[in-house]
Symmetry: C2
Subunit: 404 residues, 2 copies
Amino acid sequence: MEIITGGICAPKGFKASGIHCGIRKNHDKKDLAMIVSDVTATAAAVYTTNLVKGAPITVTKDHLSDGLAKAVIVNSGNANTCNSDGREVAEKMCGFVEKYAGVKAKDVIIASTGVIGQKLDTTPIENGMTELTQALSYDGCSDAASAIMTTDTVPKVIAVSFTVGGKEVKLGGIAKGSGMIHPNMATMLVFLTTDCAISSRMLQKALSTDIASTFNMVSVDGDTSTNDMVCIMANGLAGNELINSEGEDFDEFMKALNTVNMFLCRSIAADGEGATKLVECTVNGAPNIEIARGAAKSVITSSLVKAAMFGADANWGRVLCALGYSGLDLDPDEIDVSFISKKGEIVVCTGGRGVDFSEEKAKEILLEDEITIKVCLNSGSVSATAWGCDLTYDYVKINGDYRT
Amino acid sequence: MEIITGGICAPKGFKASGIHCGIRKNHDKKDLAMIVSDVTATAAAVYTTNLVKGAPITVTKDHLSDGLAKAVIVNSGNANTCNSDGREVAEKMCGFVEKYAGVKAKDVIIASTGVIGQKLDTTPIENGMTELTQALSYDGCSDAASAIMTTDTVPKVIAVSFTVGGKEVKLGGIAKGSGMIHPNMATMLVFLTTDCAISSRMLQKALSTDIASTFNMVSVDGDTSTNDMVCIMANGLAGNELINSEGEDFDEFMKALNTVNMFLCRSIAADGEGATKLVECTVNGAPNIEIARGAAKSVITSSLVKAAMFGADANWGRVLCALGYSGLDLDPDEIDVSFISKKGEIVVCTGGRGVDFSEEKAKEILLEDEITIKVCLNSGSVSATAWGCDLTYDYVKINGDYRT
């Protein structure tokens, strides 16, 4: 497997575009994106578990009930959620794709991200559809990746090339996500494309399996959004033999999917609202995967741990505290903790008790912009990793008046 | 029932004191407190559910196994938690109370609050014991209330007077708590005294019942501390007939306890680390108490809601979002939301959908320093209230380098 350029347009037969149509006031910020496959693709998605669901989620679920899709339309600046006309507006947007890009509305995946509870005016969207459609291109990935951003500071793009049954297959992805990020079962907005030939059923299986160790392990602020979605379209243009069951080919596909998703997870966490650093928590020595994942996520979600990371403060007591209130069956007296960055590793706690360590060395390690909090539970052999970021003044600033 | 002065020394026969002994570097900050009852009291307590428990919690549990206590010793500046000699140190401190104040070590309640995982040196404590004991006084409440503070900006003190079986009874309390506050079953450090005659069993029942609607409904930052404790001593000096079962007298006592605890809850939330305002969430129309409480707490805990309150931003979509991911069985389409302060009430959402409202009026309401987020689930008749605060730059600042 090889990392390549091109993002969602790297796989054969996918065009993308992104424009400013006027949903956002700021003319410099693109706010409407489209992705179109040359041929109808198998498709799969996972969605937010929030009971309050954006209208686009409901519409996409309907459209994907046959496991097929050909296009994605996404706007930023407005979540189209908690609006009385939300469903109607979402259907209307899919109708625009049918009218302007010739893709049947029922083959359109739709997503919206931005403020909740403000009506989404479709006028600028319809006015922008000609430009959006004309802009579709085999190297339009970066425009689409920019258009889906909200408080993101950088676009999140990746693609890989790998081999399935002797054929070169590509898989690409773009993601959006910076705040209201604490996915459960699904997450954020992530659009994946591949030219792999794979059935809808196996595609859904691959996606649902992978997110448990990728997107569900990211938390920026503990708030599970109403509009989270990860979707994938597979158009089969790589010409590999259709993946229709488990086996070597499926395993290769899973590996590529995991590489792409893991990259996007780390990118989302590092670009968390106001974040100055990526914080990774790796839990080893757990008796089972639920405990490993739960422990890693409890640490990554703690406001106090996050604030300590911002201050480059080796306040490991807060890590122990977060493990202790996780609700998991842990033995605090068996827990070891260390902090790691490219400056080295420092052990701060063994057997649930503090050890003498150099505060100076700890500071040096924690001043880096990628930190790993390594926890060993010493009660089994299962591991898990979660990704988050530090809690900063800027998180408060960004969210103190997001709507203005 | 009447609110009176005197705090924990308002009930007959309770002395208190607070001094600076040197656990903290800052000479202006008291760091050691004692409360002593003239006679042995019945006693009850509730503790943190964090699996990582401070050594003082373990020792207090042992000492209260007979339902009796006569004194409390508390230090701030160091939590005596995750230390290999923690238990030994906590026992030693109770021994000091026996040696210097003549109260048997097994009748001492002990608590420590501050940094986790740093050894607590007992030298300054022993050196301070003579001064601490000599300072004990029937109006020493404010010294004790100051000595237990950590990042608190104001002491939290209250007392009430009420009547049980024709006798005047008093109940007082002091509390400490500002960060790492998201209690579960017990919380923070709260010391209550009463001269009511009440059996240990009924005292524990009263306390355990009351905290479900008081301290367990407060959240500053979602972090459940390792050292949370609420304890109460009842020395019987009011001369009422012993409360030994449920009935009118017990009900009177419960009412007074609830008044005191509610006051302390609001004080703790309003003084949350970095907070500029008290945020209260009242949920009405719930089908049962679990849903009412869970919904109120989910709103009050959301970082995004808290940041919006800091910015006086009527971003009600975040309230809906927090209700949606609470894990509770709610119907989003039935939810109404309004914001209230002394400037009035503004309805922002009905039936899960936004309504037109004046942003100007909303801003005026939200700029006040006590805000109520009123949620109606329209699916029953049960209510609950939770207390929290806004998320501010100062929370991040305080927790970015708490240890330095």
